[in-house]
Assembly symmetry: C2
Homo-oligomer: 404 residues x 2
């Protein structure tokens, strides 16, 4: 069998029947040089339409029912895309999560992929038929329908690519690739021809919303090369490469930023082993993704523990932390929603001490105060006032001459 | 466990979120006196919306994909109805055909029910939870999604009622019950409090579109009492009873009619054993439902073989008959789409010879020519010119004084 490429098409790529027709053309062309497996999102706007229907029955619908409801969007688009391919003389068959045993945990709306029936998919491919698989959907051991959360279709695509040993996973979106930062904030942001998996992982995690974080994690773990392309324009897109050669000389390859965050600080926590786990364990159990975690050195055996989560998890986290007050014994809980994160990402950064100070200097000269700093080997994350994000991103983009 | 009633709600009954809310109220009230299992259709208009999407890719979409597509309508309404019940404090869970193993044949868009996992449904009921099951959907042995054809949700409901040994299947619609004939054609048509299963079977088969034919067949076979009620107005509806006592004295209990038919006549067929099978076998294999079949006495070992099918099957049947020309050796194929059937139905008719002649006389006095006559024990079917249907129904309704 010739080599397999997984192609994933997002909601805007299949937003109308005309768009679905264009996507079918892309698939048809690609199928001339590779075996193709397709993963598809719901038609743009459809998931929101379904969510609105659910809202008629309260703000907090039962999650099992909610997932059964919203997952229908992908079933619709996969069937329509199969029909579009048939109309072009291409053999194709749609498959729901249940039909390819895309098993997940039972955390509705935030389910995690456990396993998928690779043989079923490969049998279809061997029969010269293109499987059109619903993204976003999963199914529990007991047969209940789950969803992977917004953007989950990327993860579906990469997980399938890993399981069927595809040579590449092409993620088609409405942008031409990965840019040094958001072009809507910095007009001369530059498209990258390639980026390392690690850099992408840091960028995605920080809200360079092109590819979903979990998808990049999967790609990283299973060594699946991912390419990001536009389904609207021709172009080579950005290859997220397995090796980090490509960026050897670049100190900073991109700038990510994320708004809609909330910062929780537990003031004056006892600095004893297990405290961090006591705090983050229940949050993790609730399937809430934590972003930055910062704990500074302790003074008098007391420390401040700070972390950020997505704004939508604010109330859930607040409740958990209030319940933990006695056990963790913190003095005060400080919550701040007017914050944002800005991150410099670059594989070349790891051996360079000067990047951080250069960034801090540039921001300070432009009156951007940095509330929190947190660095990894290839990333420097700064938490700043939400109102200053656009300014900060432009300052840093100029400072590191990313437009070149 | 207390006795179980299956409640089925059609598309108009769940056409909007407000309607879904009203239906949840009906279910909640019913759940005070019985255990309830619900079967639900797609929201009114939704199936058409999905069909229109499919049409973008040709007039004859792949049936497997078509079924995967249109079946999503029921998944949406079942999840929403479960949410509506939750909002009223009632425990409920939606189930797709796949989740309750509603196994069917693989005749897409016209699938027939083979089996359903009664234990799974009863386990939910025993747990004081109302299962909200998608009507219309099925699943093949191989896990492909099928649909039962338009109106198939009625059949789903009765099949489930039979399998879980429910005491009754309540079919909620937008009419108050079964009438002596269509009130839009005969304004003083009268609602019947009860009707026998046999009469209903004949009425449904002839287009008294309140309950689907196959559903009544199922009910008849498995002895499930069916009640037809309105989800819009209070009222006792019409009970389709197992015994035919109720109608003992009524000669004619109702008049059914059906337009959108096409009549095929194979002129001058050899009257040898097996001819009828040779003709109808391939049509049955194509899952096409044949309505009236008439073959008159033969003259010189030649006869005319006539039958009617739904207009939508016209081309398929025509093709089959042309392919059969050599084998069946008919002289000419006559096709007529401008016809309709009008039927008098009544359990009391079987011992009464006078009904037919009374009907024929009334029609002839009103210039309605009868093309074909075909009688069973409790039904007289007449094929007439399509343009004369309304007139014929009114004449017969008056003649048999059904308004009383």
């Amino acid at each position: 069998m010739s080599e397999i490429v997984v192609q994933k098409f997002g909601g805007t790529s299949v937003g109308t029947v005309d768009r679905i027709d264009s996507v079918a053309e892309i698939i048809k062309n690609a199928s001339k040089s590779n075996k193709i497996v397709v993963v598809v999102s719901a038609m743009g706007g459809e998931t929101n339409r379904l969510v609105d229907l659910a809202k008629a029955f309260g703000d907090d619908p039962d999650k099992r029912e909610f997932d059964a409801l919203v997952s229908t969007g992908e079933t619709v688009s996969s069937a329509l895309l199969a029909m579009a391919l048939h109309s072009k003389g291409v053999k194709a068959k749609s498959f729901s999560a249940s039909q390819i045993s895309m098993r997940t945990t039972s955390s509705y709306s935030k389910a995690k992929i456990l396993d998928v029936d690779a043989k079923k998919i490969l049998d279809v491919v061997e029969n010269d038929t293109i499987p059109i698989i619903t993204g976003f959907q999963g199914v529990t051991e007991g047969g209940d329908v789950t969803t992977l959360g917004r953007g989950g279709s990327d993860t579906t695509a990469v997980a399938i690519a890993a399981q069927i040993e595809a040579i590449r996973c092409d993620i088609y979106t409405d942008v031409d690739g990965i840019f040094t930062t958001d072009p809507s904030v910095v007009p001369n942001a530059k498209k990258l021809d390639s980026i390392t998996m690690e850099e992408m992982l840091e960028l995605a995690g920080q809200g360079a919303k092109v590819v979903q974080t979990r998808a990049v994690e999967f790609a990283n773990k299973y060594k699946v090369p991912v390419k990001v392309l536009s389904s609207f324009n021709d172009g080579n897109g950005t290859l997220i490469s397995l090796k980090d050669e490509s960026m050897e000389n670049a100190l900073v390859s991109g700038i990510a930023f994320q708004k809609d965050l909330v910062k929780f600080t537990l003031h004056s926590v006892g600095d004893t082993p297990g405290t961090a786990f006591k705090i983050l364990g229940p949050i993790s159990d609730a399937e809430i993704e934590v972003d930055v975690i910062v704990q500074n050195v302790s003074i008098d055996d007391k420390t401040d523990f700070t972390f950020t989560v997505s704004n939508e998890d604010k109330e859930a986290v607040e409740k958990i932390l209030i319940d933990l007050k006695t056990e963790v014994n913190y003095k005060e809980l400080i919550i701040n929603s007017d914050i944002a994160e800005v991150s410099l990402v670059g594989a070349g950064m790891r051996s360079q001490a000067g990047v951080a100070s250069k960034a801090f200097k540039a921001l300070s000269e432009n009156d951007v105060n940095i509330q929190i700093i947190c660095t990894s080997e290839i990333k420097i994350t700064m938490v700043i006032d939400e109102a200053l994000v656009d300014k900060a991103v432009n300052v840093l983009h100029d400072e590191f001459e990313l437009e070149k």
